[in-house]
């Protein structure tokens, strides 16, 4: 047993004792929550199939993603897990997407077939958004080859509308994607990241020893432009890649996040690129974007190197009203953590924040800002795992399977890695890729969904014991897109401010739930909540009790829910 695992074991055992018999052991309060692996208990049985047969084809190392979504509109978060498949000519098993319906009792039912999603494809990522504003979540699956758009019928089933929507024929090595309304016309548009110009036919031979084939690094391939598809509102999309200015064939994009870095109310995009400069696409409010990554200081590492950007998360971790950024990178490159600096620029604070040090030997993929302990400060969760099974032979301190990390926000721009304290099962080393959060049990705290490459998916239930309270908001747009993606919610308590944006995408190949959750500590009320809708409308509500959820419908009064 490794020392780290041993220590995690001790932490887990100690936490277990404190729960079983709180009065018996006078243990310290701990971190106030535990992440428990409830995958099997919840009835989730998923195995990712990378299709690896020994051909060492590049996409095998990268998949795949996951999503929390409420596909049936019952207010309970369901789960979608993306899968790849065997390569042509090496067919051994059938592997498909998996859709798990929330049974509202902590368990899930596999409804893949019934929902019409038992489809074999070389899936990578997922983006969930109600692009036709019918009140039901539609799903885009990014693939190696043809991406697929599944429209939600509202009757518990999906239909493949790839061709009908006009997305058919665009084939690439797509990775992360997100829905957002870049022209603020109330319709969700689609942004898709593409990695490199790869196909099985044009696979390049790379080798570490000169004899045996190994996985290539992205330098071996040409880049591929990201795509932007504008929603025409008639169920079809127009390719706006070229006209919007996001076309860049040198990009090797893996992650994308929605943000409004210049606070002008127009959605901007941050794209994480692998071995190429990251892009910060500023929305010019005229249907065009301009890359200002270099000026903003997010394109390169502080020493001027284009890092291997994988996943990306955006969140106001300083409670300053301005969103910071986290970008996961290759091992030896650290997680890039950026705080909003002067003007519209960012300052890299990985090392001083305490995030850089522990992430030096990890290869990060999925990542998300979430207030895991409901203390009012956004924490950072990161899924780690290497792409090279033999990495231990080359770099002794780096493993193939790596523990996920949970950086607890200590305030003052400082974080503390506490995955081991949060749960031995959570901190167990795995080849992590996708990561998403959502409150599947509607107890107010955020649970974590994590996928692995060529391995199982994990569901970690957050068991809050600190007594910290949450307040959740379910937003519905009317003039704005129905999902209210891009809406900014700010809560105020005395002089304290917290901010969340309703967003799709982010992390890596994954999507978290759309409702926004605020931790408010021991407060039983919040003074004020202000919502800036994508349409430009602003609403304000006062004196809301915490410990429950609220329905916020654009230009309507707030509706309190029973519980979350």
């Amino acid at each position: 047993m490794k020392r780290r695992e041993f220590l995690h074991g001790i932490a887990g055992a100690a936490a277990a004792r404190s729960i079983v018999s709180p009065g018996l052991f006078a243990l310290p309060a701990g971190i106030g929550f535990q992440l428990r692996d409830v995958t099997a208990q919840a009835g989730i049985s998923f195995q990712h199939n990378s299709g690896a047969y020994g051909g060492k084809l590049l996409p095998e190392t990268l998949g795949s993603g996951c999503a929390f979504l409420d596909y049936d509109g019952d207010g309970w978060q369901d789960i979608l897990l993306v899968n790849a498949m065997d390569w042509p000519g090496h067919k051994k098993q059938k592997s498909t997407l998996k859709l798990y319906k929330n049974n509202r009792n902590g368990s899930f039912s596999d409804v893949t077939r019934a929902a019409g999603l038992e489809v074999e494809l070389y899936g990578m990522g997922v983006a969930v958004g109600d692009y036709n504003n019918d009140g039901f979540a539609d799903v885009l699956i990014t693939c190696v080859g043809q991406n697929r758009l599944f429209q939600n019928t509202g009757r518990g089933t999906f239909i493949d509308v790839t061709k009908k929507s006009g997305l058919l024929g665009r084939q690439a090595f797509s990775t992360s994607a997100l829905w957002f309304d870049y022209d603020r016309d109330g319709l969700l548009d689609l942004f898709v990241c593409n990695y490199v110009n790869w196909s099985p036919e044009h696979d390049v031979f790379c080798s570490l020893d000169g004899k045996h084939k190994s996985y290539c690094t992205p330098e071996a391939y040409r880049g591929e432009t990201c795509w932007l598809f504008r929603n025409r509102g008639d169920g079809t999309f127009e390719d706006a890649t070229a006209t919007s200015g996001v076309f860049d064939a040198s990009s090797k994009s893996l992650g994308v996040a929605l943000l409004d870095f210049d606070r002008d109310g127009w959605p901007d995009l941050l794209v994480a690129n692998d071995t190429q400069p990251n892009k910060l696409y500023k929305n010019l409010r005229n249907g065009k974007f301009k890359d200002v990554g270099m000026e903003a200081g997010v394109a390169f590492s502080p020493d001027g190197k284009a890092r291997a950007g994988m996943g990306v998360a955006v969140g106001d971790f300083e409670n300053s009203g301005r969103a910071g950024i986290a970008i996961t990178n290759f091992d030896n490159e650290m997680v890039g953590l950026y705080r909003a600096g002067k003007g519209d620029a960012y300052d890299e604070i990985s090392l001083p924040s305490g995030v850089g040090g522990p992430s030096k030997t990890t290869l990060g993929f999925g990542c998300a800002f979430l207030d895991i302990d409901l203390d009012g400060r956004l924490d950072l969760a990161v899924a780690n795992g290497h792409i090279d099974e033999t990495v231990r032979n080359i770099r002794g301190n780096v493993g193939y399977a790596q523990p996920p990390q949970l950086f607890l926000n200590q305030g003052g721009g400082k974080f503390r890695e506490a995955a081991g304290e949060a749960g031995a099962e959570f901190a167990k080393a795995k080849v992590g890729r996708g990561l998403a959060y959502g409150d599947f049990d509607r107890d107010g705290d955020l649970d974590i969904l994590l996928t692995t490459n060529n391995g199982p998916a994990y569901l970690y239930r957050n068991d809050e014991s600190s007594g910290n309270r949450a307040i959740r908001f379910y937003l519905t747009g009317r003039k704005s897109n129905r999902d209210a993606i891009g809406a900014v919610v700010r809560i105020f308590n005395e002089n304290e401010l917290q901010m969340r944006m309703v967003h799709g995408g982010s992390s890596y190949l994954s999507q978290s739930e759309l409702p926004v959750t605020f931790g408010v500590g021991k407060r039983d009320r919040i003074e004020r909540v202000v919502v800036d809708w994508p349409s430009g409308a602003t609403q304000e509500f006062k004196n809301l009790a915490s410990g429950k959820g609220y329905q916020l419908t654009e230009n309507k009064d707030v509706v309190a829910m029973q519980g979350f």
Partner: protein
């Protein structure tokens, strides 16, 4: 009268001159070093740093030119389903960065670059952008084929020329940097040589100054020795004179005044017998006779104090046997007088000095030691005579440079008889004066 000795020349002036010389040399060297360092700094900031910054901008430009080349390759590949205008934003980004790089490069351009060289890059780039704008204009007008021809015919060639120009400038910078490195090495070598030279000169000055100091010190010590010897001689003469004067006075008092007073006493005695008894005159004469007798005793005491005749008549040991109880009686100090060894006669001249040492030491005990006990030891050893006077009082050791005249005199007396005198501190505290003198120096012969 002996010729008055000329005052010797003080070494201070020489030393001051040496110091001034050294300071001037240090200042001159510091000035020289400062000049060299300034030159180095200028060379570094004007050439090396400038070159480095310039090269960085050239590398940035080279990178942008490579991106342009890749972009043009993709445009010609027609791999993408987009029109050529799709590349506009990508090329605009590169254009912004490349223009900024060339502008920055111009501000850092090394001095030796010609005006023609300085303008070539910006002019070529302007021509490239003009051609690119034409190409995008053609593409925008739907003339994709003509636009692609423009890339092949004009843009790619211009990009290649620009790339070559940038590479050439990078090579030039590299060569300039090598020259600067060589110049820096030359400066370092020169400074090193000068440093060795300066160190050698400084060493020489130090050696010469040291030699001069040694010589001057030798002279000073010789002078001090001579002075000391003169002083000792003078002191000894003083002591001899004092002793002979005291001896003379003592004899005069004893022999002359003693006899006169004895005669007066006898005469008064006889005269008294001739006067009738119970007469006033007889009483008066008797009183005068008693006064005369008392005066005679005092004169004899004074004579003894000035120079104990006993020394000459009975020797040192007997004198001490008389003197020590006398002092004990007079000063109330308990004296522990010890004699050991086989006594031998001490020559009178030496005995006087030994007696004086005892006298002075006991005088010090009574005046300064604040004690009422003293030990006197006279030891007749086989080859020497040892005289010790010890007390356990507060100690007599005087402060540095404040030796009492009495103590100086004791040392001189010891020297006069060829002995050594030391002051010691007994374990019990106080002072021990120890005089050791070789037997042959003090033993009386034939007596």
């Amino acid at each position: 009268m002996p010729e008055r000795q000329k005052p010797r020349r003080s070494p201070t002036a020489g030393l001051l001159a040496g110091l001034v010389l050294t300071l001037v040399a240090v200042l001159l060297f510091a000035y020289y070093m400062n000049g060299q360092l300034r030159g180095l700094r200028e060379l570094q900031s004007n050439l090396v740093d400038r070159n480095r910054k310039d090269s960085l901008q050239l590398l940035r430009a080279q990178n942008d030119l490579n991106s342009l080349a890749l972009g043009m390759r993709d445009m010609l590949d027609a791999r993408e389903p987009y029109p050529l205008t799709a590349w506009t934003a990508q090329f605009e980004r590169i254009r912004e960065d490349l223009d900024a790089a060339v502008k920055a490069e111009d501000s850092f351009a090394p001095m030796q670059r010609t005006a023609e060289q300085r303008t070539y890059l910006s002019q070529s780039l302007a021509q490239f952008w003009a051609a690119m704008d034409r190409m995008f204009a053609l593409a925008g007008a739907g003339k994709e084929k003509e636009a692609r021809e423009q890339i092949q015919v004009s843009l790619q060639a211009r990009q290649a020329a620009l790339s070559t120009a940038v590479a050439r400038l990078l090579i030039q910078n590299n060569e300039a940097e090598e020259q600067a490195t060589a110049e820096i090495t030359r400066i370092y070598d020169r400074v090193q040589r000068q440093l060795y030279l300066f160190l050698g000169a400084a060493l020489l000055v130090i050696v010469l100054t040291s030699l001069y100091l040694i010589q001057a010190n030798k002279k000073i010590f010789a002078q001090m020795e001579e002075l000391s010897s003169q002083r000792s001689e003078l002191a000894q003469k003083l002591i001899s004179t004092q002793e002979s004067t005291l001896r003379h006075l003592s004899r005069e008092l004893h022999d002359e005044f003693g006899q006169i007073l004895t005669a007066i006493g006898s005469l008064l005695g006889r005269a008294g017998k001739q006067v009738p008894e119970n007469s006033t005159l007889r009483e008066d004469l008797k009183e005068v006779q008693e006064i005369t007798q008392s005066t005679l005793s005092k004169v004899r005491g004074l004579s003894q104090a000035l120079h104990p005749v006993l020394l000459e008549e009975a020797g040192l040991e007997a004198t001490l046997d008389w003197y020590i109880p006398t002092v004990e009686r007079q000063n109330g100090i308990t004296m522990h007088y010890e004699k050991s060894g086989t006594a031998f006669p001490v020559e009178t001249a030496a005995g006087v000095h030994l007696y004086r040492v005892v006298q002075e030491s006991l005088n010090n005990v009574s005046r300064h030691a604040q004690t009422n006990e003293a030990w006197i030891r006279l030891t007749y050893a086989a080859h020497e005579l040892i005289l010790e006077i010890e007390d356990h009082g507060k100690g007599l050791r005087p402060e540095r440079g404040q030796h009492g005249i009495g103590m100086v005199a004791m040392r001189e007396r010891a020297e006069l008889i060829g002995g050594t005198l030391v002051y010691e501190k007994p374990d019990e505290g106080g002072t021990r004066v120890r005089l050791r003198v070789a037997r042959e120096k003090v033993q009386a012969h034939g007596g």
